[in-house]
């Protein structure tokens, strides 16, 4: 059995206090595990020092796959595999292929990106997330600090959390 992980959990009532607190706490050299919020707080990802997500690149790649697949399929089917005379037009003329190509680009891009999001965020229907405080989906911002990963003592972190505006500080072990 794995060793128990011990956390200090700071509860914040307000997103502005939280944002300042994150900066203050990180300045003091405390490593924050993660912050859990009921809604997206703008600027929190930068304050925590997260790198920008690369999901847009994934979306673009999936989209390009869709474009080329759709174009290839249409040109091959109507141009080479079974050419048909339709209104005397070219067998493989590009303009009428654009609508389907566009739709398929959007389809693959959207599904590919959302799929990637679920995979990288490790989200699945049968997974129960680790909850540091159940109020984090209601109205509290919950900051989890892994005591094992920090060299600063528990009491000091407790004091830093309180000083930076946490309304409560609790201990939690998993």
């Amino acid at each position: 059995m794995a060793a128990k992980e011990n956390f200090l959990v700071g509860i914040f009532d307000d997103e502005d206090i939280l944002l300042h607190a994150v900066e203050k706490i990180r300045d003091k050299g405390v490593k924050i595990k993660e912050v859990y919020s009921p809604f997206p707080v703008h600027g929190l990802d930068e304050a925590l020092g997260y790198k920008r997500t690369r999901l847009p690149i994934a979306a673009f790649m999936f989209g390009m796959t869709g474009t080329s697949l759709a174009l290839f399929t249409q040109i091959w089917m109507l141009g080479y595999d079974w050419p048909m005379i339709i209104g005397g037009k070219n067998f493989a003329s590009i303009p009428p292929f654009i609508p389907v190509t566009f739709e398929f680009t959007v389809l693959l891009s959207a599904f590919g990106m959302v799929g990637t999001f679920l995979v990288v965020s490790d989200m699945k229907p049968y997974k129960w997330p680790r909850q540091y405080d159940i109020r984090s989906t209601d109205d509290k911002h919950v900051m989890a600090i892994d005591l094992g990963a920090n060299k600063i003592s528990k009491d000091d972190i407790h004091r830093i959390l309180k000083d930076s505006g946490a309304s409560e500080v609790n201990e939690k072990s998993f």
Binding site: Y36, S37, P40, D45, D81, I86, F117, S121, K124, R135
Partner: protein, 461 residues
């Protein structure tokens, strides 16, 4: 820090806090359905059952059960199809285009509007599917699958096939977009269920929320996904009705063969969609007591969009007439004169009255902020938009190039039944949604509550 303009009206009234939002919205999911809900749901089920009977008869006996004839080969089926697809457009406009424009007022209405989109597109899809006669072979015929005709592929030059791709992409992408929005809100209901000790509900809603945890990193990715989905949905929604209009515009039928169709159809779609959003939301806010979230201000803004799109549609009607005269093609001229003064004059003038004249009443602030007037006008707009499609489709077809085949279209009870069937699907699905899913996007409303809610403590007077 969130900065808002002082002249903007508050989007959430009643001095709500973040916790109030969770409570007010989750309450209707957690409680027992009200009697009013049961009544409304019961009526929808009756419509659905009657409609399903008509569909069954039609499938068993064939398309001959409908009132179509050799001249008018498309009538109520495609009218209803275009009508429903158009209604769906408002949902995507609200959730995607208004997101790109950073319009915060979309936040308390986008969930219900997107749900409406999805159900409306399901209704729309049912018409071409049933029109194929053999529903179960639809996939086989419409998709480029290897088949028994020596792999004679589907015709990618046909707008009808573009429609297959456009509508199915639109449906599935809208569904994903809507579901992405629901994920954090399902987690709210899950955690409330945990606190109430309701294990079954917690498990179900955890499954629905994909084990959402609300971590800052997940939110960052989530916001990026939402923005890109909005960016993808915006051209998508415009393309969908453009392609629907090409079903007509690429033909050589007088009255259909016009280049104005794509923008004209898109404007009409948004027009009718907002009308339907208003019809639904005015009822929803009353039944679920959401007056603080869906305010008169929201209603007024939607009415302004109705004036704009209604006026675009009006200009399109007049432009079509002008071009028919200016183009000097006798067949085209006859088609338009016949619309306004021929045997279907009543349909044409119903369309003109409902779509062009009545929405102009919203220029008066008294009317566009009056809920009863808005409700009535929203239904009138929907009737008008149905007539628009009927006028375009049936009046153009019923006077063929060959006068000996001129005829009228008379719907049978199966045409009507099929339409009722889609109302059954739509309202049954909407009431189930309103009961089991959070009808307002809690996470988004919470994110703006500090900046736009009127706080009791800040009132100094």
């Amino acid at each position: 820090m969130q900065v808002t303009s002082a002249i903007r009206e508050t989007l959430v009234t009643g001095g709500k806090t973040v916790a109030d939002v969770s409570h007010d919205i989750s309450r209707q999911v957690e409680g027992k359905p009200t009697r009013l809900w049961w009544m409304a749901f019961g009526v929808s089920l009756v419509l659905l059952t009657y409609g399903a009977y008509c569909c069954w008869m039609m499938l068993w006996n064939g398309i001959g059960m409908w009132g179509l004839n050799k001249t008018v080969g498309w009538a109520w089926d495609i009218t209803n199809f275009v009508w429903w697809v158009g209604i769906g457009h408002a949902g995507t406009l609200i959730s995607a285009i208004l997101l790109l424009f950073r319009q915060r007022w979309r936040m308390s209405i986008n969930r219900a509007a997107e749900a409406m989109t999805i159900f409306a597109v399901i209704c729309a899809l049912s018409f071409p599917a049933f029109h194929m006669g053999r529903l179960w072979l639809g996939f086989y015929w419409a998709l480029p699958l290897p088949n028994a005709f020596g792999s004679l592929w589907v015709n990618f030059n046909s707008p009808l096939l573009w429609d297959v791709f456009a509508i199915s992409t639109y449906f599935s992408v809208s569904l994903v977009f809507w579901y992405m929005g629901l994920i954090p809100d399902f987690a709210v209901i899950r955690d409330r269920a945990v606190r109430m000790g309701n294990k079954t509900r917690a498990l179900i809603y955890n499954g629905l929320s994909f084990g959402w945890d609300g971590a800052a990193k997940t939110w960052m990715r989530y916001e990026s996904v939402a923005l890109i989905l909005a960016g993808l949905s915006t051209p998508l929604v415009l393309s969908v009705h453009t392609i629907v209009s090409m079903d007509f515009a690429t033909s050589v039928v007088p009255g259909w063969h016009t280049t104005i169709f794509p923008p004209y159809f898109v404007a009409g779609a948004i027009f009718s969609g907002f009308a339907m959003v208003l019809t639904l939301l005015l009822v929803t806010r009353k039944v679920f007591k959401l007056e603080d979230y869906i305010t008169i201000y929201h209603v007024e803004l939607m009415n302004i969009i109705i004036i704009i799109t209604g006026s675009i549609v009006g200009i399109a009607y007049i432009t079509e007439f002008f071009i028919a005269w200016y183009g000097q093609v006798p067949a085209e001229q006859y088609a338009f004169i016949n619309r306004a003064t021929g045997p279907y004059w009543w349909a044409y003038w119903s369309m003109m009255t409902c779509n062009v004249i009545s929405p102009q009443l919203f220029w008066f602030k008294k009317i566009r902020t009056n809920l009863v007037a808005t409700f009535i006008l929203s239904i009138i707009v929907n009737i008008g938009m149905w007539f628009e499609r009927f006028v375009i489709i049936v009046t153009s077809l019923h006077r063929d190039y060959v006068p000996s085949s001129w005829t009228m279209f008379h719907p049978t009870m199966y045409d009507i039944g099929q339409y009722i069937f889609t109302f059954g699907i739509f309202f049954t699905a909407f009431f189930l949604f309103a009961k089991f899913f959070p009808v307002i996007n809690m996470a988004e409303v919470k994110s703006i509550i500090k900046a736009t809610s009127e706080k009791k403590s800040t009132h100094t007077h």
